[in-house]
């Protein structure tokens, strides 16, 4: 089993999220954080738009030659003393990881942030097998304490307040004096630093994700701001990298291109704090580093996307920009999407990975305003791909009841005009059309009748950015800072 799926109940999830006052307050800060920072970082680099083209081209080239680059990558990892394990699906990947841990006699397993780990439901499996997995990314650590899943691919605990975190720390860190002062958020950070330091030093195996895999050298790359990924992979006996096939890029230079658009798109940083290139295991003369290096390469449905219109989705570098700019995500948060990947990228990826029967609702969770595509660093045509899923859903002749619930989901968003208010001028135009429809689905601007045979126009990137830049001052609230964290791996 992979991570629990509640995507079919998107509508109910969304409804609950809209009633959740605490969540709504948090989501409100998103518009003053990530989006403004991204717009500023993009505007500050004259080459940014050209770099997006370059990033798109690198990924397209890699995907078109994926078999050959994988062979090269595998040969290079092996030559540098590492091991590559191919995993067809989640169960196989979980088994490989557990077997490596068992062979090393491991007890404690520290973990850097990895969306693949979430996708395959690794922590539950490791626990069942008798290991103790400990998430070390601060946000992941917090949600692990709460037995929750991430609500955002780069800010997993985005939905929580400092007060909630304080409660959890008091509940779990019982070795510390109960009267300690945790009123300042920074004291929570310090407490987590202390608690996790012990785990880093005691761990037997460290598991990280990978933002990129480099075929030229057999290297895995992680990008973080905390440094947790580095402590995770440097201190234990073995480093296991969990990565999906499409993380591959050909060369070190290609990776440098991708890094420039990743950090800017994710958090608005010019560069993340720690970008780490790992090649093989500790060398003979090395005084530190892991004694063994394993890479688990996961397919889990991705090879089936190649050669289809959904191949473009495999360019995704998990920056999170599409969700940061999505009015639907901003309204309902990440958990409503019901599986590992939320927001526009999740709406396209989830049906491909878990099946259109389970994830087929998600492509309806869109206003088709086009903001996701306008900010995507690898220029994935997300609205077009969401429409493709809708068409496929009809082609597959799903039962009328299922189709109706998909339509009902449209209606759900269309009847809440304020969802659109924060969107672009185009969003406003769509709203006007929607209002004219008075809830009649057929006349909604994103009904299939409208979209068949024509492309719903997406706003042009520069215009959109210029608009954001002009409004940036207005939106920035005193004291509000963007979230900063390692990019999703």
């Amino acid at each position: 089993m992979t991570a629990t799926i509640t995507s079919p109940a998107f509508r109910e999830n969304a409804h609950q999220a809209l009633q959740d006052k605490q969540l709504q307050a948090v989501l409100g800060t998103m518009r003053t954080g990530f989006s403004v920072k991204r717009a500023e970082a993009a505007a500050a680099l004259p080459e940014f738009e050209a770099l997006r083209d370059s990033a798109r081209d690198i990924k397209n080239h890699t995907l078109a030659h994926l078999d050959l680059y994988l062979e090269q990558y595998e040969a290079k990892v092996t030559a540098s003393g590492g091991h590559v394990h191919f995993a067809r699906d989640a169960a196989e990947a979980r088994r490989i990881v557990a077997d490596i841990c068992r062979a090393l006699g491991a007890k404690t397993v520290t973990k850097g942030k990895s969306m693949i780990s979430e996708e395959i439901g690794l922590n539950d499996h490791l626990e069942r097998e008798g290991f103790t997995p400990i998430e070390t990314d601060l946000g992941e650590y917090i949600i692990q304490l709460r037995h929750e899943t991430p609500s955002h691919i780069i800010a997993p605990a985005f939905h929580l307040s400092a007060a909630q975190v304080e409660q959890d720390f008091r509940r779990v860190h019982t070795q510390l004096p109960p009267e300690r002062d945790l009123s300042e958020p920074v004291s929570l950070l310090n407490e987590a630093r202390q608690a996790l330091r012990q785990h880093f030093l005691a761990a037997d195996v460290g598991i990280t994700g990978a933002n990129f895999l480099i075929a030229e050298t057999g290297t895995s790359v992680i990008v973080t701001n905390e440094g947790n990924g580095d402590l995770t992979q440097t201190l234990p006996k073995a480093h296991i990298v969990l990565a999906s096939l499409e993380k591959l890029v050909p060369t070190l230079d290609d990776c440098a291109q991708m890094l420039r658009v990743l950090a800017r798109s994710a958090t608005g940083q010019d560069s993340s704090v720690y970008t780490t290139f790992s090649t093989g295991a500790r060398r003979a003369s090395d005084p530190d580093g892991p004694g063994a290096y394993h890479v688990v390469l996961l397919d889990n449905g991705r090879t089936g996307m190649l050669g289809t219109s959904f191949q473009e989705m495999l360019r995704c570098i998990r920056c999170g920009a599409c969700m940061n700019h999505c009015p639907v995500y901003q309204a309902v948060g990440g958990h409503a999407y019901g599986w590992t990947y939320p927001g526009p990228m999740g709406s396209v990826l989830t049906p491909a990975l878990i099946g259109v029967d389970k994830g087929g609702h998600l492509p309806n969770a869109s206003t088709f305003c086009g903001r996701c595509e306008s900010v995507c660093p690898v220029r994935i045509p997300l609205p077009k791909l969401m429409r493709h899923w809708r068409e496929k859903e009809f082609e597959r002749h799903l039962t009328p009841a299922t189709s109706r619930s998909g339509l009902a989901l449209w209606g759900f968003f269309a009847r809440r005009p304020w969802l659109y208010r924060q969107a672009t001028r185009l969003g406003a135009a769509a709203l006007a059309l929607a209002a004219r429809g008075k809830g009649k689905f057929a006349s909604l601007p994103f009904a299939s009748g409208w979209t068949q045979g024509r492309d719903f126009p997406a706003p042009e990137g520069r215009t959109f950015q210029a608009m954001w830049a002009a409004q940036a001052g207005k939106r920035r609230l005193a004291g509000a800072q963007p979230d900063v964290k390692g990019q999703a791996q």
Partner: protein, 227 residues
Amino acid sequence: MTARDEILANIRRSLGVTGQEEPRRQAVADRLSRPERGIVPARGQKNGAEAIATFRTYAEAVQTTVAVVSGPAQVPAEAARWLSANNLPARLRMGADARLAAMPWGATTLDVSHGPSAGADLNGVSHAFAGVTETGSLVLLSGPDNPTTINFLPDNHIVVLDSLDLVPALEDVWTRLRAEAGDDPLPRTVNMVTGPSRSGDIDRTIFLGAHGPRALHVIVIDRHATA
């Protein structure tokens, strides 16, 4: 069929290829043997004093502190000054780097110990392989000279950077590594470090010092000043 063979076969079926097509194999071989440099931003393309100033601007923008000294002999005194100014103990952990070893640490009151860090060291010092002007980043290579643990375990990290090792962009680091180390250019770990550790996971606010160093101080040896 092994998982590996099945996955490769699936990729080939989806792409409609066999894997034997000569033009595809050639395209991949060319790309790997002659990496494309791509688009490298103009903002890092500086020389001499201008490169140091630009590096400093971007480094300070991410809360790295920077001091410029006129030669290697001045490094220990600057390290001692910085530790004392921040009320930190006069103790330093360092690896076996010959450039660091040649500096006059004995002329200071600093208590210097050698080897990787096991987690008990408050302050560490490393010598950078390169500095990246474009982003104010440091590039550090693993190995006995500058063990990776010193980059992450101490609370405070001092990094010595020779201005002759300042390069415009990360691409130039790769060029230099390929020239120096040939076919297998990378050590086990290459760390590109851009500022002290931070997190935004609590209250959506950035705080420094999440898991890695809380403070990062760069001492640039300005070779242009002495040249």
